[in-house]
């Protein structure tokens, strides 16, 4: 039976939320991202895109292209709360949802026809509900597989809805540049260009054997995708493999006492995101980029991992592990340019939960978890940083405004902004 897959992608998600919340930003080029020497564009509004501003572009470059753009520091927790609203809507149509990121997901609605109608009906209803409940727009692509659905959702942004019937798949994908294929990055694209391949159609003229002998296992995938074949299932459990938080500092940090509070803050954020998804992680990873140039704009990077005896979503446990890993990074006195904390080996919270001894009563384990969840609710309501551990307070002067790290207190006009939000 033919599958019906919807790929749903919010339009300029972060920027759209800012424009929704602050009417004075509407109709203007808005860039969400860190406004510093090393800041990066997280999202650009549609008004900024004609200037060539793109996600992941250095902020300095973006502002050269579009000097009149209004730069807004990201409010990650706020976006997360909106994202939860959107996923709640999606879940009312099917449990077969594979989140790709905060603002993007695949839905398998093959079995939802009896209840909600055709895939096109469902996509329309989802878009309408998202709009009425969040005043935001989404674009949807519908096809028999994930690969084509994803390309389709990108065709008529913003607020688009594109359905590709099975018999039109090849006609649809073959004129597209080969870089539209997942896994075709700069390097593969260069090789393909060398073989005279510009479009997906060019690629489809090669035999499977020719592609496998040239690209190995990846060649088989290229062959299939170029023929519009993609059998990957929409996997609700594929949610996330790891969760992390990293930050590039405006000035390199040469003192451990400046880095430690950053790690604590990141551990808290990671713990909070884990709890938000009802997950626990087995492995904690610390990523440290030193201010040691290796040429070609690269820097010395250390990643250190540690697998815990039992999985956790507790900020203290994550921080303790992160600290041990960080202390093992050599030559930190050169200056730390970037620090990050990650959790991986994720599994659902409560599955095989080993209870802890050193809490006054067993139910305290639950109380601590409840405390975590209460803190999360406070944070999503009043902004991250409303309640935090004593030791993190002193960190503020050492921090920069980079994507993913900026809290409400760091905003230009916190008071005015707070009022509007409530």
């Amino acid at each position: 039976m033919q599958r019906r897959i919807i790929h749903l992608d919010m339009d300029a998600f972060y920027a759209a939320i800012e424009q929704r919340d602050f009417p004075e930003l509407r109709g203007k080029p808005v860039i969400v991202g860190g406004n510093s020497q090393r800041g990066v564009v997280a999202t650009a509004s549609y008004e900024a895109r004609p200037y060539g501003v793109r996600s992941a572009m250095p902020m300095m470059q973006a502002l050269k292209l579009c000097p009149q753009a209004i730069v807004v520091p990201p409010r990650r927790d706020h976006y997360l709360a909106v994202s939860r609203q959107i996923f709640a809507i999606l879940r009312s149509f099917t449990p077969l949802i594979e989140p790709v990121s905060l603002d993007e997901a695949f839905l398998d609605v093959t079995a939802s026809k009896q209840l909600f109608g055709t895939a096109r009906d469902i996509a329309q209803r989802i878009k309408a509900r998202i709009h009425s409940e969040t005043q935001l727009t989404a674009s949807a692509g519908i096809a028999a597989n994930k690969f084509v659905a994803k390309i389709a959702s990108d065709m008529r942004k913003p607020d688009g809805l594109v359905e590709i019937p099975a018999q039109e798949i090849l006609a649809f994908i073959h004129p597209l540049p080969v870089t539209k294929i997942w896994g075709v990055g700069r390097v593969t694209a260069q090789t393909l260009h060398g073989m005279g391949v510009q479009t997906i159609g060019d690629l489809a003229r090669f035999s499977r054997d020719a592609l496998v002998s040239r690209f190995g296992v990846h060649g088989d995938q290229l062959y299939r995708l170029s023929h519009g074949i993609d059998e990957r299932a929409v996997d609700p459990n594929l949610e996330v493999k790891s969760l992390g938080e990293e930050e590039t500092f405006e000035h390199d940090l040469t003192q451990d006492r400046d880095v430690h509070p950053v790690l604590l803050h990141q551990a808290q954020t990671v713990a909070q995101r884990l709890r938000g998804r009802h997950l626990v992680g087995w492995t904690i990873t610390v990523k440290i980029k030193l201010a040691e140039r290796l040429g070609e704009g690269r820097f010395r990077l250390y990643t250190r991992s540690h697998t815990l005896p039992s999985p956790t979503n507790d900020a203290q446990a994550i921080y303790r592990a992160a600290l041990v890993l960080y202390d093992a990074v050599p030559r930190r006195q050169l200056g730390v340019r970037l620090a990050g904390v990650y959790a991986s080996g994720l599994e659902p919270e409560g599955k095989n939960a080993q209870l802890d001894l050193f809490v006054s009563a067993p139910q305290q384990t639950d109380k601590r978890r409840q405390l975590g969840h209460v803190l999360d609710q406070l944070a999503s309501r009043y902004g991250e940083g409303i309640v935090r551990l004593g030791a993190t307070r002193s960190m503020r002067p050492a921090r920069s405004q980079d994507p993913g790290s900026v809290r409400k207190e760091d905003m230009h006009d916190p008071v005015a902004r707070d009022k509007k939000e409530r």
């Binding site: 303790r320 209870l355 001894l357």
Partner: protein, 377 residues
Amino acid sequence: MECAVEKEELLRCLYLVQGVVEKRSSLPILSHVLIEGREETVSLGATDLEIGIRQQCKAVVKKSGAVTTDARKLYEIVRELPPERLILRSSGEGWVEVSSGRSRFRMASFDPKEFPAITPTVGTDDKKVAVSVALPGKILGEMIEKTLFASSPDESRQNLSGVYLEAQPTGKLRMVSSDGHRLAIIEREAGIAEVDAWPHAILPRKGLIEARKLLEKDEDSETDLALHGATAVLKKGTTELSMRLIEGDFPDYHQVIPKEKKNFVSFPREEFLSAVRRLLVLTTERARGVKLQIEKQKMTVSVNTPDLGEGTEELEVENNGGDLTIGFNGRYLTEVLNVLDEGLKINLFLKDEVSPGLLQAEEDPDFSYIIMPMRIF
């Protein structure tokens, strides 16, 4: 320095220092063994700055002095030499020569004056709080064996990454260890007189692993355990092992010891151990949950691992309580039973499925093992 020593004697001594020598050290000299010849004896020394070992070796010293050389390489060479007397001799600046029969090796030596102190630094006021206890090596070895496994290998929980030592008012010596999920307590007669003078100390895992090695296969030798401020020193015969105590406070463990000992099940050690061992085959590293279902005089032990399979074992037990279903990490059960003696009758005291369980051998109430349940339902 020049001395003559029997191969087997040198090999035995070198074996004992190997564990202390750092394998991957940033300080090259820490991979070396310090060999000092003075009068009638040769002393081997090694340290990783946290623990240190000094081993006296029977030898004939022809010329006093000291050399250092790569401990692992020397051990490997000596191991391969024929069982004959061999000669160690400093050979000019920065070299040491090892010869035996027709074999001859020249190995690099550091300046022995550069060798760090074998015993971790002892502070100035350390002498004041020096306490010590003498007890049979067999007993000390048993105490370490029965606690070390429950300590935390996780460096991020420093105060749990060792074994806590405490003198009891009864004069007994108590050792406690925990990884935050289970806790082992053992007490043995030690005849400690000045109980109040005993400080609270946490002995590091690495040091205790070496101590266990030193005490294994011990017949009846006397050992001496002393605490000087931040250092513990264990002396047995010709060996002196010192270790830096772990800083920090051991958690208040008294509060987790179940006070209520009403309901319990009893079973023979081997029967339960082999059942759990078999069941653990069908579990994974990340999910060692074992379910214990106690009904009347029967205990059903089971595992269920998605994508792998399930297993069930039925045991006859003496049940001195009601019915209960509880989950535990199976590894935590086998590890404790492995260190207990064969033929024991095990009592497992349980309150409910979320409270800590207490495991004891009926024959030895001075050993307790407290284990937190796992939610596996």
